[in-house]
Subunit: 455 residues, 4 copies
């Protein structure tokens, strides 16, 4: 017998246990000194489990109070770090490329459900925090490849399961770069930003924060823990090491090429999404879930030099590349919403793809309210269904043009505009969405009146 | 006999003639008073010709001098306006939606070639003007559904033919809104913008400009011409009326829903592209060509209220929506480049999708130089090949994450990273690209050194 | 200037003229001695026109009399032969492979319509001749990439334009093999066939027939004409040289590798289809039209040895291969009908994919009658819409299993089975299909009663 | 809490145990009296395990002796029958349609491998039994969505996991029809068949056979067992109830509409395939494996009348229909092999899609031998990779034309024909395929000589 018959699970988790009680310790910060929990050899196929993004803070029920009161410092619970070596036990080295093939991704058997949430504005909110300041959530039943929700009627779609977060450990030097540039952004403050006047009411950046830090096998009581927790980077944004890029196309069968900054590469994975739309607009926007990944690693020696080009002051300023897999859900008809870089107050922005995309998303949300949905339901839906956000044109001064393309087949009614007026107007049977009031004092956009019409 | 046997050409053009000598007069400004040149009835199928974006200023030769010296005020030569009426000859009315189905699009027989250009930085440049300040061009042979270029070896791809520009005439009120908000942007000047420090060295906006204005059937010697030319909006950006959105997915078989602002709708079409990548990054970035459109119109009475939601201070603040067609080129394998909102000087930006996309495009450009291409060739190629630009994540503070996905099958060699080192390294046989020197004084990014490597 | 600006039309035709009056003479037989009408050089891009399959016998009207009285000996009017040479004017030679890239295919401007017909059973009928013995036709308006018919309401689809027939001239030896094996089949007669008892009431084979022969530039009055016409093969079936294979996937952008049997290859093309379903079941089953092809040829010297394997007694027993193009219409949802090799009399056949496919097609036809269509309308529709016919399983004795997959998006109503009973049952507004009575005496299958039902 | 959190496994199996020792008894015959092992309610989501096709007879090793000596009477081990009832516990009734949605399909954790085999000709062989009379096998490692084999180098592809067999229990009347028509076929014998002279050296049909019968919960020692085993239909062919149709497109996310013949429907499922090509040509041709299905049922009352049309002497002569899922592997480039209905002895057949397909498959097999594969390796590969078998044209007398389309991206080298002669010819590093000698006396086709060539 000279072949593999089973795939070992090298990092089992139990979603019923809190993060701190997992057998294999989780971590939620980036730091070169967090020790690897396991070593994997190139070309071996192995399984890793992940608990959900919030580590069990969200319940499968009909209230949004858990979303409102969530502790954002606790979020992201990463499985890893895993160090990688070649057939001769030589570890990956700085300057190499680590290839991770995502052979399969899925829900943990026995936990076939997930959630999509809108965070309260005081708690960070999402891309449209000024329009949707209050917490809400939708629970999704995962029925094999499909998801449907008792809180958003009339839709069902196939997931593009992917890890919201996958990345290698930063080196000391890279960590310093991150902390420095993000600190500077915070210090300059929102007044230095002229991007959409709304977006920057969200947190500007999240600097190292020892509270709620998890550092894998490092004992919380050790002096080392305190030192590292003070300098370890937060996992919220994607950066040079990959990290929390939330790319929906990094789904089953794809292969990512990650730069290696420390010996062994020490890559981690987490924040598994059953499905996500481009942008993950409501922040807790994908269908968050606990699950597993089956992976296979390879090492390209000196691959950073070969395949990546530094784009910045140091040779560490690179970004990962990846190849898409052959199993993205296949939809052929799309209804597409356009947006240009003029905001909803009528203000002109210059070549601002973020503003253009914001407008496209708003156009989409209010389009679907005509079929009986509440704006919150569509906001959640556009965060998690397989919709595509494109930078369509970014050179025609002063307007960037962005588009949001929604696959029509995810709805169980025909949601396209109808040319003749004789058609029967269709509406979903409405259900109640779990949501809270927004009690904060940050400015919000006045509620948009849905046009009422009959045909 | 009760059916159509031939499709009438209601707007023939001759690419060999200059724009001012076309039988049907062209126009290159938006204004409610430009008179329609023809009326079309709903459900009839008709053909409209278009001359290329620059109106014949670019030649099929091996010099980029024509690109360097282009007069940007002359660009965009629109076919139209066409007023639309229903079966009972009732015209489309403000508040209606105009549905235009793009039944087919193609090159003008006898002019089966196109061009992609980089504008000189003094002349506006493109998305990466600071990196590529000098003019360049590539000529493409259009061989049926395929394009190939003697200036960019080793690639061949199927076009997603589309009109870069399609839109309805603005009403007086909407025109006023445009001119006001764009003037304000210009007045505030670049110092009010903290977007990528590079982008705003490009023109901020282009206000009404009588020079080189074409106003269709309005005589250039009339007083009316002077008045209108002074207030007519430039056609460069996409706006509420659609316009120059440069959306590559608006290709054969798609159907666009345009808001109607004036009686008859008065829609125009032009700037035909044989192929384009998302973003059209080099500005004259698609494969520009002369060609034809076969179209069919329909009217949805009061459709603006029914299907669009105003997103701004007036009910005119809307954007078009469209349905994609069934004939987009079909590629299944993509190599994807990531970018986050840190610029190439290492500066951190906040949630800035434009910066993230800029970095993804730069990452891509320098990746392909490793196969023997010059950066200018790849910049041109990523402007015009069917690559996809996505806003992948736009909520993970402070980094937006954008991706650029390149279909691998357009290359006649395997351009994916290779895992083992034993592979033969492939390079294209290089050819000369028509280009000029940049003689201006605006700041440019220092030339990036391509890593030299052997395997 | 070192590039092509226009694509020469080397074989213009006029669909208004009868085949015999075309400037460039057509041919409708295969024979090595039919002289080439033009020579093309490899890598040049050129255009060839084609008149429709019947050479103008079918009219754009509302009667099927023209289909009933069609003279089948006249059918197939091929453009060519074209001899091919390399850059040094060396012609293609027997043993080479001729590569023909179908750069583009389209309707002749001014003749944007086509037809689908059921032949009368006496005149050959189609795949289901016993069920549908009488002549009928549907006229299609070609609206750019789309087709719709006033005779089949409620459907509209994008075409997969392709030449039903493309092939190289046979050598003398190959021609002899064809005539011999087909003559033998005819001599043995239907009693030697135990295939579906219905299929063999159609013609068994069509041997050389001087009546109505067209032999290109060979004068009909010459002795040579008589000799060649008596031995020239009919063009009806596909054979070793390619020929009338009616493969819908040989559409825009595909590349076919044809064996070369005579010097120059002498390839011909014709029988252009705007759209076809797998099987082309009603015989005149695609949307037949006049049109053009833009092509580019290449030669692989000794390619037959390199890439084809003789599968028969001589090295001439080969078949072409091809690569699909990137522009097949893109549909993602299909309703699929199964069939096994038991015929509609209940008789068991052994591993017979033809019988299995017949049953799948019948299942499909009667399914759609439930939406208000007549069986003839669906039979015509399944001949010409982009449906897929698969040999799903061909090893499970005694039943072959075949499937017919119909894209649901071609209908403007939802034609999938509905799970709950509360849905409104949808029916098309019926129109009249041009058809004739069947007056022959061959056995036919009793008319199937459509179940009447209400929900 | 009002939602499902876990999916119950209502039929667990253990691939390490022989079929007869499974806790839930398996069955391998069709009979109305095999009692259901469980009842499922509509709209509930449940899981069912399946052991592999041969019930553990094939080992993960490097010998083909197990394939050669396989006992075909033992094959097919079905999980079920499951009876289905509605929300009010009313069972499905004859005349209803049973809708089974295949929510997900996968390998059993811990048994991530599969096999593809060629049966010895004495043991039934496959579609090309005369060419490949000897037993062989390939073992596949299942690495998440991908499969690769140590016995067939250079290929890796994503699976279209599907149950080769899914169907409802026949009624007494339907069972009688099956046994009668298959018995008749056997009695007439091969001399009544003029189909490909090769195919009918395979078994003609397999009549009821008590040996090795498994009848679920019915005790093998009961008199009832003997009676039922003598009349229960074999599961080899697909029939009116669905059954062993081996349709590769019935994959994840698809929904099948099965006719109901007995109260409760009593559907069974089994013969899970990780991947299959159209035709499953080598008989044990897919990648056979043990695995699970997650399913959801619905009932359409009186759906047989509504949606199926009897095509035969009784109203039981129907076939299932299904909708494809959104997750078929996505490939865009295909190399296509044509075949016409002339066999490899040069004999002409009439409209015989089976012969045409046989030739297309043979053409394909010998094409790939040029890259260093043995014919047996390609035969196995074309049985199990996601290739598409089409009935392209079935009306052009006397030749049916069939095609076999192979996705080029499954190979790790470029296997398309090369136009210039300067290319380096690529060959796989060959490995040894487990195979046996053929020791029987049935006629076989002389070994085809692979052309040897150099470029």
């Amino acid at each position: 017998m000279n072949t593999r018959e089973r795939i070992p699970n090298i990092f089992p988790v139990d979603p019923n246990l809190p993060p701190t009680q997992q057998l294999k310790p989780l971590h939620n910060r980036w730091h070169p000194e967090i020790p690897p929990v396991a070593q994997v050899k190139v070309n071996s196929v192995f399984r890793v489990d992940m608990i959900d993004f919030t580590g069990g803070q969200i319940k499968n029920d009909d209230s949004a109070e858990d979303v409102k009161s969530i502790n954002i410092n606790k979020n992201h619970h990463l499985s890893g770090p895993f160090s990688v070596c070649d057939e001769k036990e030589e570890p990956a080295k700085p300057g190499d490329l680590l290839v991770v093939e995502l052979c399969d991704l899925g829900a943990l058997p026995g936990h076939e459900w997930g959630y999509t949430g809108i965070f309260d504005r005081e708690n960070g909110g999402g891309f449209l925090a000024d329009h949707f300041p209050n917490a809400a959530k939708a629970i999704w039943d995962l029925e094999g490849v499909y998801a449907s929700s008792r809180h958003i009627p009339g839709v069902r779609f196939a997931g593009n399961i992917h890890p919201g977060l996958i990345g290698t450990a930063p080196s000391k030097e890279l960590l310093g770069i991150w902390n420095e540039r993000e600190r500077k952004l915070l210090e300059e403050g929102p007044e230095k930003i002229t991007l959409s006047s709304v977006l920057h009411h969200r947190p500007m950046a999240m600097l190292p924060e020892p509270k709620e830090a998890l550092l894998g096998t490092i004992s919380p009581k050790s002096a080392e823990f305190q030192r590292i927790a003070k300098e370890a980077a937060r996992t919220i944004p994607g950066r040079e090491n990959g990290g929390n890029c939330d790319i929906k196309n990094l789904t089953r069968g794809s292969r990512i090429y990650l730069p290696v900054f420390v010996e062994g590469a020490n890559f981690s994975i987490g924040d598994l999404h059953f499905s996500q739309g481009d942008g993950e607009v409501s922040f807790c926007g994908a269908i968050e879930m606990s699950g597993f990944a089956i992976m296979r690693c390879q090492i390209i020696r000196n691959g950073m030099d070969k395949y990546l080009t530094p784009m910045g002051p140091t040779k560490l300023h690179v970004n990962p590349i990846f190849e898409v897999g052959p199993l993205e859900p296949r939809y052929s008809e799309f209804l597409v919403f356009e947006g240009v870089s003029v905001d909803e107050y009528g203000k002109q922005y210059y070549m601002d793809a973020s503003v253009a995309y914001k407008r496209a998303v708003l156009n989409c949300i209010y389009y679907f309210t005509k079929f009986g949905y509440t704006p919150e339901q569509v906001y959640l839906l556009m965060s998690c269904c397989p919709c595509e956000g494109r930078i369509s044109g970014i050179v025609d001064v002063p307007n960037a043009c962005a588009t949001l393309a929604v696959p029509t087949a995810i709805f169980d009614m025909d949601i396209r505009p109808k040319v003749p007026t004789q058609h029967v107007h269709v509406k979903v049977r409405q259900v109640s969405l779990p949501q809270c009031t927004y009690d904060g004092k940050l400015p919000t956009f006045p509620r948009i009146q849905r046009p009422t019409f009959s045909d």
